[in-house]
Amino acid sequence: MNETKQQLFTRRAMLMMGAMTLPFTVMLGRIVGLQWFAGHKYKKLAEDNRISLRPVLAPRGRLLDRNQQIAAYNEKAFRLLIIPEQKEHLATTFKRLEKLIGLTANEQKKALDKLRTAPSYIPIVVRANLNYEELVKVQVNLPDLPGIDVDEGLIRHYPQQTVSAHILGYVGPPTREQAEKSQDPFYKNPDAQLGKEGIEKMADLKLRGATGRRELEVNAYGRAVREVAYNPPVNGKDIQLSIDINLQQMAYDLLGEHVGSVVAIDTITGELLVALSKPAYNGNEFAGGVPTDIWKKLMADPYKPLLNRITQGIYAPGSTYKALVALAALEEGWMRPNETVYCPGSMVLGNRRFHCWKFEGHGTIDMHQGLVKSCDVYYYQLAKQMDPDVLARYAHMFGLGHRTGLGLPEQPGLIPTREIKRKRQREPWVGGDSLITAIGQGLNLATPLQLAVMSARLASGAAVVPTLFQPESPPIFDVLPVKRSHLEFIHKCMFDTVEGGTAFGARRIGIPLGGKTGTSQVISKNHGDVKSYSGIAREERPHALFVGFGPIPNPRVAISVVIEHGGFGGAVAAPIGTKVMEAALKSLGVVL
């Protein structure tokens, strides 16, 4: 090697040695920089990576009826799941499921929606309630269904199906907005179910319990490696209801093919023993989210099965209103009990003739007979003395014209006054208005619940407030400012109505019941003196109503029955009312 070559090489080698060692200090400095100046940040990021908080859903509380019978519980159900990280060829998989278990387009769309937002390690429920046959079909074909799995989950179940649907309500998954906006860990659970209607909605927070929390150490794929901490959920509370599901079932059966409602109320505690609206939906079908096809069908049904008639059906109270009018007349002195009226079958006021329901008339009739026979002309005469605004005050005192405060969505109904008439129809109150108001027609509107409350207040003389829950201590209601003797007179009249009046066919042997029938016109068409509505189109038939209470003299149960387009109240509604009352009294142990 020649000398200069050696010298240059040595110089270059020295230079390179320096160039090869110095950068290591830069690297060392970088580590120090990452650890000392950003260490906190990176420690937190490492911890966030490592720990995943998973909500643990508390089992939803059950709904129990007054006799501890189960009205709603969580049933073990087989669920069809997609595990997002294992799915392949989803379109083919869905096609196969379509053939196997009739997976609907809507279910597919919902699953795809969830797949877009959910983390890949959380299984997505495609169908929450596979039946056994479907389960077997899916299980046998699992090898051809990548990413599909079946597991056992809890699903809300209502053993009575449609019977108490409107009162119990149903549950469903939270809306996307709730799931995204709420801070409550409950909503972070993919299986979260919350009350959408009825008691499920009213008592939702109690039923839900408290969501637990699982702190899991997870790997980069989100798969749990180890449990770091577990904060168990607090189970939802069971809710004790006031209703009696056996009575519900009985009322349901008694209604048969009719459309309508039955409301029975404990006149001392205000507990609703029966709250039935028919037709109804089946809450079990809604548990995994409402299927669109079923929803559409329910919406299109002319009998409106989604309508809770108990609190949202509004009807003219018709003759069931007369007991209240009679009581107001006694209180205000518009009529004395023994004052008689002659009923020839109609009455003329101004240039208009007002008919009694009985074409041939009732003849000479006093207040007692006027109520028992439900004579319209008697009330027309009474109306001449009556101040409609004062009557409205009594109506409100007995729970009509405003919401009862039950807790479910309610219609307020309507009790007309001079001012209301002026506002609504831009016309002054005339004599004819008083006449039709006094027989519960005209602008009068009430819900079946309001009618039951009216009946309960007439029975007890106290401001009974309805409730769907069993009160912890018996409530004390305000005594209404009406004379006891007047109430007892009304009780007597209503007793006689059942024993020998318009509700004669409905009397129950050995049980003294009071009642008042109603046949409320739905169109201003006078069918004249009809004995039967069977030949008339359904929509033109009047609603059949019945209110009542028993036993006399110390009533414990009050009732309202409304049957849409049922015809005569006495023939259709009253027998159902008295039968349910009898059963309710027996189950309460009031009568044997």
Partner: protein
């Protein structure tokens, strides 16, 4: 090849280099166990076994005379070139790039072996020419062709990381051999000018994304910036003594990708902290210094330049690997010498050390030529 040839030189064995090598590979084995969650398989025992094979290769190298090595280098270069072409034509696809040649029981990466062959051919070339001739245009072009021929083939595979490292190694050898500064300045200028063209025509989309994500890794934490971000989290959260053997959450919960290969330095730092990193870096620096000292004492130019080339490539690989793990450089698949899992890498680096030891042992032998 003669066994007896070895004995007179045995007292000249650079034991410190062998110990340094052993210590660094041992750290590698420990980290391979760590990477496999405490198991010897599948990485650690293979790594250890390859170390044994590597020692065997060193022994074979020591049995050759400097002259034999020089004679072999040219042949080796052309065999590797041929192998690269074969790989290019029928190689396996690995990590989006073709670079493996499956030879029955073992996968050979010709591009790795090419590094050594290229160093030696260049060294031979500079051994033959005088210092004045070395910087002549024609000779610079010849040297450039020796480097660029394999580089172009490797870029086509496309394995940009390896191609880049080969180029850096070649430049290092030329610098060590005494090519004048102005050539390096000119080449640097040309490279800068060609950069936009290279970006457009040489880089695949995934490579472009990686480089872009380097400048803002937080912008796409689950996409292209994922590797670097997770690596920085692991290093940043480790502390001075680290999270302990098997204790790193980033590596062991699989947030850190490629923890046994390209990101093994991150694994080291997460589990053993700054302390562990310091030890490995110290060992590597000592190895580099030892190698340079060997080069400076070698009396024939061929082996001296070869040793500098080997040392330079060890340094370059280490630096690029560390810079990548710490987020100072875009992610390119470059292993950490002696530590990362991978047969071709470990064996060629050990063969390189074999050349260094050889140079030390035969330091006084002279070779025909101008050296």
């Amino acid at each position: 090849m003669n066994i007896r040839r070895l004995t007179p030189f045995l007292h000249r064995m650079p034991w410190h280099i062998i110990w340094l090598l052993t210590a660094i590979v041992a750290i590698g084995v420990i980290l391979q166990i760590d990477a496999a969650d405490g198991h010897w398989g599948p990485y650690a025992w293979r790594h250890a076994a390859r170390f044994g094979i590597g020692l065997g290769i060193i022994m074979v190298i020591l049995m050759l005379s400097p002259r034999q090595i020089m004679q072999l280098s040219m042949a080796g270069y052309f065999v590797c070139l041929a192998l690269l072409l074969v790989v290019e034509m029928l190689g396996h696809t690995a990590g989006g790039a073709q670079s493996w040649l499956k030879l029955g029981f073992i996968n050979v990466q010709p591009s790795e072996i090419m590094r050594l062959a290229m160093i030696m051919v260049l060294a031979q070339f500079y051994h033959m020419v005088s210092l004045q001739e070395a910087s002549k245009t024609i000779n610079v072009i010849i040297a450039a062709v020796i480097v660029l021929l394999p580089v172009v083939i490797i870029i086509l595979q496309p394995d940009l990381g390896t191609a880049m490292m080969l180029m850096i190694t070649g430049v290092g050898v030329m610098f060590a051999a005494g090519v004048r500064w102005r050539w390096f300045i000119a080449a640097f200028g040309a490279a800068l000018a060609l950069l936009p063209l290279a970006w457009m025509f040489l880089l695949h989309e995934y490579q472009q994304r990686r480089i872009l994500s380097f400048f803002n890794p937080e912008s796409d934490p689950l996409g292209a910036g994922y590797h670097v971000l997770q690596s920085k989290i692991a290093i940043g959260s480790a502390g001075f003594f680290g999270k302990g053997f098997l204790g790193g959450t980033q590596a062991h919960l699989k947030f850190l990708p490629e923890k046994h290969t390209d990101f093994i330095f991150t694994l080291l730092t997460e589990d053993f902290g700054l302390f562990g990193a310091l030890i490995l870096m110290t060992l590597l620096v000592l190895l580099i210094i030892s190698c340079v000292r060997v080069a400076m004492r070698t009396r024939n130019h061929f082996m001296a330049v070869t040793v500098m080339g080997v040392t330079w490539s060890i340094f370059a690989y280490t630096m690029v690997n560390l810079a990548m793990a710490m987020g100072l450089m875009p992610v390119v698949g470059v292993p950490l010498p002696f530590v990362s899992y991978g047969g071709s890498s470990l064996l060629t680096f050990m063969a390189g050390i074999g050349l260094v030891i050889h140079a030390h042992v035969y330091r006084d032998e002279r070779l025909p030529g101008l050296g």
